[in-house]
């Protein structure tokens, strides 16, 4: 990305996030039973949504990499995995902050918490695998294979964990008949989700550029060593 474009995109993201933060903290009405702590919802759920965008993107990039063997796809795959792990980490951190006052406990091995945590473990091990393979082509190939395995594992993780009863609130957006949000809350929520997706696109693009650059540096270093 050109420096100018980068600055514009960064400023846009920052503005959206700041406005989202203002709306979440001040604009939205205080929830009746939980009080101010409920406001973390405007971060927690959008981050989870972003995470569920990144992980399928990683899978698609991995599959196409296997077919085309194009390093750009590998760069894209690692970007989505890294950004996905970051957002998953935010979900796992904001959850307990909310859980402590509302449930009275930081953590419980409930279905959704556990499956999100295992998801996090899977993609951290994807990133770990990458650090342990030095040769770029082989690293790309092996991590794309692992990316496919990890993604196939996701529905199995969710299935396996459903046997435990869940304590996590059921979805309020697109949930059942009795779910739903107060209109202002809904507006704030969707704005926040939108801002978070813009942040995701920004981060993935930037991470992609960094990966491309480090690939180039790698190639140059090899040429230098060979000369």
């Amino acid at each position: 990305m050109k420096p100018k474009l980068f600055t514009i995109f960064a400023l846009l993201t920052l503005t959206l996030l700041s406005w989202g933060l203002y709306e979440a903290l001040i604009g939205a009405p205080t929830e009746a039973t939980m009080g101010p702590i409920q406001r973390i919802f405007y971060y927690h759920v959008p981050c989870a949504w972003v995470m569920f965008m990144c992980i399928p993107a990683n899978f698609v990039a991995s599959v196409i990499y296997l077919m085309k063997r194009n390093m750009a796809l590998d760069a894209f795959a690692v970007s989505t995995a890294e950004v996905g792990v970051v957002f998953c980490t935010i979900v796992l951190l904001t959850g307990p902050i909310w859980g402590r006052p509302v449930w009275g406990i930081w953590w419980t091995w409930d279905a959704r918490l556990t499956s999100t945590f295992i998801l996090w473990l899977l993609y951290v091990s994807y990133l770990l695998l990458r650090t342990l393979v030095e040769e770029p082509d082989r690293r790309a190939l092996l991590s794309s294979l692992f990316g496919i395995f990890a993604f196939l594992d996701v529905p199995l993780v969710f299935g396996a964990i459903r046997w435990w009863r869940t304590q996590h609130p059921s979805p309020v957006i697109m949930g059942g008949a009795n779910s739903g949000l107060e209109p202002t809350m809904k507006a704030v929520f969707f704005f926040s989700a939108f801002a978070m997706h813009v942040l995701m696109v920004f981060l993935v693009l930037e991470r992609y550029n960094v990966e491309k650059m480090s690939d180039e540096v790698d190639v140059l270093r090899r040429e230098l060593e060979a000369a």
Binding site: I118, L145, D153
Partner: protein
């Protein structure tokens, strides 16, 4: 060579090697034994309690022990460039993968057979549910561990710190299978709840990863 012939030859070679050296089975057995002893030191258990947690203990011990064998599967083939010979041989590579999985399956099954009496004695176990269910769980669970383990063993073959990498990538992928194995085993041992659902789940897990493994194995080997 055909699929069947390659499979038979590779498998019998691996079994013969193991029979003569006993590398994998000895280290697995000793390792599992250590885990069992350390666990029993860590918890003072009544028979009732041990029935409740034995399902977890057994599978954790087997999972750790299986990694020992899985790490050796492919490393063995690096000596004398055997793997390169496989790669240029006009034989289907899937059958090589399948033979390795079967070999590991047999090793871990032997381990299970030897460990079962120890578990029964050390933890005062008596199954409330039907024994045949335990046999099915152990076979399906064993397959789930070795099919992914053999595949990831091939992936981690020429990486830095190979021995460390295998559990790092194998354990997270195996978590859903492990949950099912533990659930099924505990349900059978305590007689509370049914082992049916976890067994079906395990079968699905096995089929999914066997198919994907067979399908993608050639790519892994050609990456060398």
């Amino acid at each position: 060579m055909t699929f069947g012939a390659t499979l038979r030859h590779t498998l019998s070679k691996d079994l013969r090697l193991e029979w003569r050296s006993k590398d994998a089975i000895n280290s697995m057995l000793f390792f599992a034994l250590l885990v069992v002893v350390i666990f029993s030191f860590s918890f003072e258990l009544t028979p009732e309690e041990s029935r409740n947690i034995a399902g977890g203990l057994i599978w954790v011990a087997l999972l750790f022990a299986a990694v020992v064998a899985l790490n050796q599967t492919w490393a063995r083939e690096l000596r004398n460039q055997v793997l390169d010979a496989y790669r240029i041989a006009p034989a289907p590579l899937e059958s090589l993968f399948f033979a390795k999985v079967l070999g590991n399956f047999i090793f871990v099954s032997v381990l299970e057979l030897l460990m079962t009496p120890l578990f029964v004695v050390f933890y005062n176990l008596r199954s409330v549910g039907p024994i045949y269910e335990l046999v099915i769980v152990s076979m399906l669970g064993n397959w789930a561990l070795v099919v992914n383990g053999t595949f990831f063993g091939a992936i981690s073959l020429r990486t830095r710190s190979r021995e460390v990498l295998l559990p790092l990538i194998l354990f997270p992928i195996s978590i859903p299978a492990l949950l099912a194995m533990v659930n099924a085993t505990t349900a059978t041992l305590t007689g509370e709840g049914s082992a049916h659902l976890p067994l079906v789940f395990l079968a699905v897990y096995d089929v999914v990863f066997t198919v994907v493994g067979l399908f993608l194995f050639e790519t892994v080997l050609q990456a060398e």
